[in-house]
Symmetry: C3
Subunit: 475 residues, 3 copies
């Protein structure tokens, strides 16, 4: 019998038998809880239109830069994986991409992606463990065919999977000018009992270095400023669009900023930067200053409209220029760097740190800020929550390091709850399950070391998995 | 039977049964050793005057910013906890504060403070475990009354507790112009067998940005410069006051600097900065340069007078301006940031790194310097000792990370021994006990992994708990 | 019976019995594999000339700054350990140094050096465990005599040890103008079956702040530029010497740079810096810019000549000026500082990140970049490999932290394989054995937690220990 990693009942639990037994019992409490996903990248259209997935490669490989980047390390050009080929790959490209994936399968050992993929293969597509553990060029076509056959079944349409995955809330990520038509259809559809909520993501309207910024600002102001011109109109338009998002169920606004810097500029200074940018004369320092000020403005708006504010700085986007030129963004080479949250969020927190019902979730790709900055900030400011480890850090060991780093200073009440942040729809159950197993493992260790009582651990696991995301994201 | 975390004999020990057994035996060696506390914030007057503690809130909640900051995250204004209300709270405020504390009790799960408080409740005040584990608004008044009753007993006066806690040495933290009258009284009091030593803490006389700096300098020079004027008189006055502290038992001088930077300015440059500051014309760069140079001067004085020098940079003090404006400093929002010790202490160590009997203890709130900078520095310079993890890091997991980070490079002989750094008098035994249990746990793992012999581990635990603080702090 | 740490069959394995059993079995697979050492500091002459080692101190203490620095922390002047005394110490100095070492033996508890030394004592020199564990001034002479007696035997000559240590490949580190005569002799010697390969280390020719830089450049250009003058001749000479190294078996070029910065300057800019440096007019910023540009040039050459490029930035060399002035470099006070790889290697990777067969191994002394920067970089770029933890980090806990930090993002295929980086010849087996035990321990945990299958773990341990260094270093 081949050992199945993806379905072993004790997977991800600590090896010590006593601690493992405690972890099992804690996990059992939350194993079947519905999935709350307050931040992610699945398109609402998938659910609204319930369009069948086309093929295994286009579903599992091409759009997942976690997967393509690792195959790329073996020297496989991204083009062979269908990156840049548009929505449908065609049988040939899809097969080729899949074979490259199969060749690279051993590279995934020990990675978070390898674990999620195994879970999808076995638990979503029902492949036998033996097929999964021997996945290689020799059986690549057989695996492809088995998955393709499943995808053709009505049970594998997005809506049915939504139900099977036991998703209660799924947040998407959306352009401020998006009509949110798909969300609206879903909300009105009585046959659909899930909740798909939009997220306001205005990066491209705030980053004045973005090549299309000026053009976007034209559109934004034209559509939403209510006739107000200039910087005041720009702010008004953002406020209006946030309101539109709230009316369509949005609970949060997300900000992928370069650094955590926030600034409160004088209105005239901010306006001058805005006008300079419109004239195409802004430099890198202007870009950072404007973004920093706009984080202050976004916080101000959040205090007014109640939208939860999430920020995730510290990624050098599109690190490899030639790959970006050929394949565009989100292709696996956004590389983290060190950030300084303590000084960065100072200006914002001066004014809004204790504002009533303001929620600010701080994410990081730089683990060093967990114990040094985020736990102390969230351990004082009522508004600040520590974002769960995500993007490179949403993996078992990293999650354990996170809990170890923040808990002794900030306890369990100051973190956001798990965030899957994914466009890989079929990996959502595996990701949440991983998180639940790791939370159970961490709590089990504290119980075994007599640092919390077993009774409290049973309450805490429910709080972490279910109440925290509802509370922090106002679900 | 309610599980008691605070009195379980295996608390904080590793779960693996074999390793736990080794940890138990190592801990047994040092469990009853006297407490050496070479740095902390308990006022000498408490011991000298032996004044009874007034009430549970004023003792356990209000002055402990570890506790108030976590309650504050739940949206409770610091004023409701008695912060800023002066020395006595009054029955109403004390009761209200206590109830807020009881409401927030679950927030403390998994935190260091939660563990210390449990220990105080059970082991200092003798509350039953059931009362502690069910602490909530429902029994808040009962808990309050039980503690208040204890506080009224003569056994709960500071001196008797000093004995019960088995404290041998307790260092206070004092203003350079303090008369040290309380220390003097204690030293002369034959009925008191403990040792309460002052610590020279000249931050407010070195930080030229401090609003009262100029005024303090006037006083300092007037009182202690022996008639010498200007910068030379300032240095002379500091030297004289250090000597006064030594004569009153001081063993160390402590420096809460902004960054670890040290500089050896030309005397004329330093003098110019000093005069500029007196004229109120110094800017932020001047402030940093003057502080950096003064660290060099403090090291020079330490080489001369034998006082151990401790520094702890990297805290953004009073991060939330409005809270500082309303409640003052030390109210829970000093937030750490990244530091650079390697370049920072270079100038100082060039001149004094190998000076005979010079001891320099480097503390950090930024864990990343443990393996990268502090272990390598302390692993070469005879003068440099790695400060124990404190302030946010004085907790079980953080202490284990510390030992793991420094030991392989610097061994066990280069760290300072445990520092409680606390103004929470009743938490002192729990803090030291935590440290002893964690040291035993770390050593037990090395024994179980055959990295040190069990015989050596029994010697090392004694060295770590007892000999290291005596050696490093010249007790 | 004295417990022997160095020969316990379970040494360095995790304590949990189930995990330990898995680790034992994984380790058994690779325990007897030949040693591949693609980077180190043993002189080729030792092997070529097969000269007997002179005395225990000169072999084990004096040249090993890991050892001397820790003795130095106890206040022992480096001169008493023979540092700076030249190649032969003389009986008196050698004995004195050895006694100082014996006095300091307890300082090594828990350090990597302590573990290696124990292994050398027991496994290379055959000392009884009792003698090793009681090593102290009382038996210092006896230990000295026992080792000295062994060194006098023909079995303890470098070549015989090379065979006994089961070394297959040993890389040395060499000046670009080195004749590589010793390497040549070894290659031609049919009685020697090992492989000793040179490594191109041009730091002193690239760092324009080096006091002998201008003089070295004269020699380099005179010897190897083929008559081309100026900057072009400098580049040509480097290219020619690299080719010479390749012809003598070199597989890699190593760069001890100040920071990870790389830049692609315009040729005219680079030339101008070069000429400025030759005139002695370059400042610190010029030094960094020239080094950064030369890293780009070195990468370009690597793409052309196939030499693996390794870089290790982030060390403040010779931190204590007075010690450097008296004893020179490599005397234990190179202190790490934080680095920024993400921005640093950007320019280089823009041009060469996906170049065919280009291998770039990034080492660090700053652990924080493992998860934040190196795993993401190596998890995308086919050229980038994560350098194994070395220098301060080549120790059990640090190695485990490394694997935990990088594996979930980059898997097992993107790291360099173990690097001993040592001039302590007799410690080579212990260092590689440590690495193998730790890799087995890490994999065993993943197996126990059902994160990889046991079958795959048996493949991975072979890949990590044997295939990775061959693949990454093109052995």
């Amino acid at each position: 019998m081949t050992e199945s990693l993806a379905s072993h009942p004790d997977r991800l639990f600590p090896a010590d038998p006593g601690t493992r037994q405690i972890a099992r019992e804690l996990y059992a409490d939350v194993e079947h809880f519905p999935i709350l996903s307050p931040h992610g990248h699945v398109p609402a259209e998938w659910i609204a239109d319930d369009v069948p997935f086309t093929d295994p490669t286009a579903l599992l490989v091409t759009p997942d830069h976690y997967v393509t980047r690792l195959i790329h390390t073996a020297g496989v050009p991204l083009g062979e994986l269908g990156v840049g080929a548009g929505e449908t790959l065609g049988e040939d490209l899809s097969r080729t991409g899949w074979r490259r994936f199969a060749e690279s399968w051993p590279l995934f050992d020990g990675t978070a992606s390898g674990y999620w993929l195994r879970s999808e293969f076995e638990q979503v597509f029902g492949l036998p463990a033996e097929m999964v553990e021997t996945f290689c060029p020799g059986n690549a076509d057989a695996v492809y065919d088995a998955i393709a056959a499943k995808l053709a079944e009505p049970d594998f349409r997005p809506r049915r999977l939504f139900e099977d995955f036991n998703i209660e809330v799924l947040a998407t990520t959306d352009d401020p000018l998006d009509s949110l038509e798909a969300h609206e259809r879903l909300a009105k559809d009585e046959s659909f009992r899930g909740r798909v909520v939009p997220t306001f993501r205005p990066d491209a309207y705030i980053n004045i270095a973005h090549p299309e910024w000026a053009e976007r600002i034209e559109r934004l102001t034209a559509e939403a400023s209510g006739g107000v011109a200039g910087f005041a109109g720009y702010l008004r338009a953002l406020e209006n669009r946030r309101r539109y998002f709230v009316d369509h169920g949005a609970v949060s606004a997300d900000h992928g900023v370069r650094t955590p810097l926030t600034l409160r500029l004088e209105p005239s200074e901010a306006e001058a930067l805005f006008e300079k940018a419109r004239r195409g004369e802004a430099d890198a320092a202007d870009r950072d200053a404007f973004e920093a000020h706009m984080m202050w403005e976004m916080a101000r708006m959040s205090v007014e409209d109640g939208i939860v504010m999430t920020i995730h700085p510290g990624s050098f986007r599109n690190h490899h220029g030639p790959t970006f030129a050929e394949f565009g963004g989100d292709t696996g080479h956004d590389i983290p760097f060190a950030v300084n949250y303590t000084q960065g969020v100072h200006a914002l927190l001066q004014d809004f740190g204790t504002a009533k019902d303001f929620h600010l979730v701080l994410f990081t790709l730089d683990e060093t800020v967990f114990s040094r900055e985020l736990a102390p900030l969230a351990g004082f400011y009522p508004s600040v929550y520590i974002g769960s480890p995500w993007w490179f850090l949403d993996a078992p060991d990293a999650m354990l390091r996170f809990r170890s780093a923040v808990t002794e200073t900030a306890g369990f009440s100051r973190s956001s709850g798990f965030i899957d942040d994914t466009r890989a729809y079929c990996s959502i159950p595996a990701r949440h399950d991983t998180s639940r197993r790791i939370e159970a493992s961490f709590l089990a260790r504290l119980v075994a070391e007599h640092r919390i009582t077993e009774a409290r651990a049973h309450e805490l696991i429910v709080d972490i998995v279910d109440r925290a995301p509802r509370r922090v994201f106002k679900l």
